[in-house]
Amino acid sequence: MINKEVKNVEEALKGVKSGMTLMLGGFGLCGIPENAISQLVKLEVKDVTCISNNAGVDDFGLGLLLQKKQIKKMISSYVGENDEFERQMLSGELEVELTPQGTLAEKCRAAQAGFPAFYTPAGFGTEVAEGKETREFDGKMYVLEPAFKADFAFVKAWKGDAAGNLIFKGTSRNFNPNMCGAATITVAEVEELVPIGTLDPNNVHIPGIFVQRIFQGKDYEKRIEQRTVRQKQ
């Protein structure tokens, strides 16, 4: 077994510097790497480019980095629900590259899987396709989208082991598996770091080969963005 375990979040984020490109898993606030985000705030790194489906809310998730003006550029598919984000974007302080959600996921997966680029129908005929190569296949038009290149990927899993194997829970899976191995260094934080040999190999979602560092996360808040319930009859 190749041991990927690191003691804590400080060790896990060693080497993160200003100006780097970072991938962060999560959909809304679901499945975001909370510990890594807190540490990025502490490290006070500046001018980072963040690849993340969303930008958090004003006081949680990537919103924490936005507050401290640590982000130079966001690459996301949906950035509503964040006033500070909107303010920085409209004032030109923050660069934003909006990308269709499926394209965003596939640009991660392409980086993970060794594809330099791929054709997708998403965005053809819209401003997303402006300046990009397009091509016809079987009478339908497609847009060429390059794979992402990133320095670090921060992902959050439910369970993991020292070998770096990961299992996700519910819809907190989202972009996390697609970002594993899509950056130079993938850092996984887990709710439960279990002893090696405990995870059933049949049920591992991401094999440890895609993960360079793994650590036991702590103090998960797991905030709910839209609490919706029904009444018992």
Binding site: F27, G28, L29, C30, G31, N53, S76, S77, Y78, V79, G80, E86, M89, V96, L98, P100, Q101, G102, T103, L104, A105, E106, C108, R109, T120, P121, A122, G123, F124, G125, T126, E127, V128, W158, F168, K169, G170, T171, S172, R173, N174, F175, N176, P177, N178, H205, K222, R223, I224, E225, Q226, R227, T228, V229, R230, Q231, K232
Partner: protein, 218 residues
């Protein structure tokens, strides 16, 4: 009388057929799930990574790890599955999802749709909408026929940045059901008590009216 949001959702629910996998967008489309006949089998897909979505949880049973694309807490039904974002869009791009229902700010007579950006005013992003409209063969748009100022949202050409081109096949509004073909809106049904003239007045794009137009049954 013009339909309200629930009325639009009720009418769209009649388009959902047995054995369909359906993706519902945020807003009116989400309401469609409440009105699907219970004698047919349908599975709802949410692009954040769940197939077999159930109703909202009972109070106290919310799980932060189980949400829909609108970030609302949800439940799953027996037979449900979770998956990553790439696989989710493989279902969408690969045309495994049978029906996509989404909202729009504008639709044009050639089937273009705009629903993600108002330059200088609102930029929330396209989320999964561009992937959905570029791939799905069966797209129903749920929308109000006019905006708050009373201006038509069914246009000759969209004025807002596009989400997709030549992709919308059916529109259900508070006034009518329309099919888009041959670069025209074809009027299929009227909302109860709404006249063809009212629909004509509220439609800027080319409207084709063939024979008697029946009232919707909902």
């Amino acid at each position: 009388m013009a339909l309200d949001k629930n009325g639009i959702a009720k009418r769209i629910a009649k388009e959902v057929q047995d054995g369909f996998y359906v993706n519902l967008g945020i807003g009116i489309p989400t309401l469609v799930a409440n009105y699907v006949r219970d004698d047919i089998e349908v599975e709802f897909q949410s692009e954040n990574g769940v197939l077999g979505m159930g109703p909202f949880p009972f109070e106290g049973e919310e799980d932060a790890d189980i949400i829909n694309a609108g970030k609302q807490t949800i439940t799953t039904l027996p037979g449900a599955s979770f998956f990553d974002s790439s696989l989710s869009f493989a279902m969408i791009r690969g045309k495994h999802v049978d029906l996509t229902i989404l909202g729009a700010m504008e639709v044009s007579e050639n089937g273009d749709i705009a629903n993600w950006k108002i330059p200088g005013k609102m930029v929330k992003g396209m989320g999964g909408a561009m992937d959905l409209v570029a791939s799905a063969e069966n797209i129903i748009v749920a929308m109000m026929h006019t905006n708050k100022a009373g201006e038509s949202k069914l246009l000759k050409r969209c004025s807002l940045p596009l989400t997709g081109v030549n992709c919308v096949t059916k529109v259900v509004t508070n006034l009518a059901v329309l099919e888009i073909k041959n670069n025209q809106f074809h009027l299929l049904e009227r909302a109860p008590g709404v006249s063809v003239e009212e629909i004509q007045k509220a439609t800027e794009g080319t409207l084709v009216v063939n024979g008697e137009i029946p009232e919707m049954s909902i």
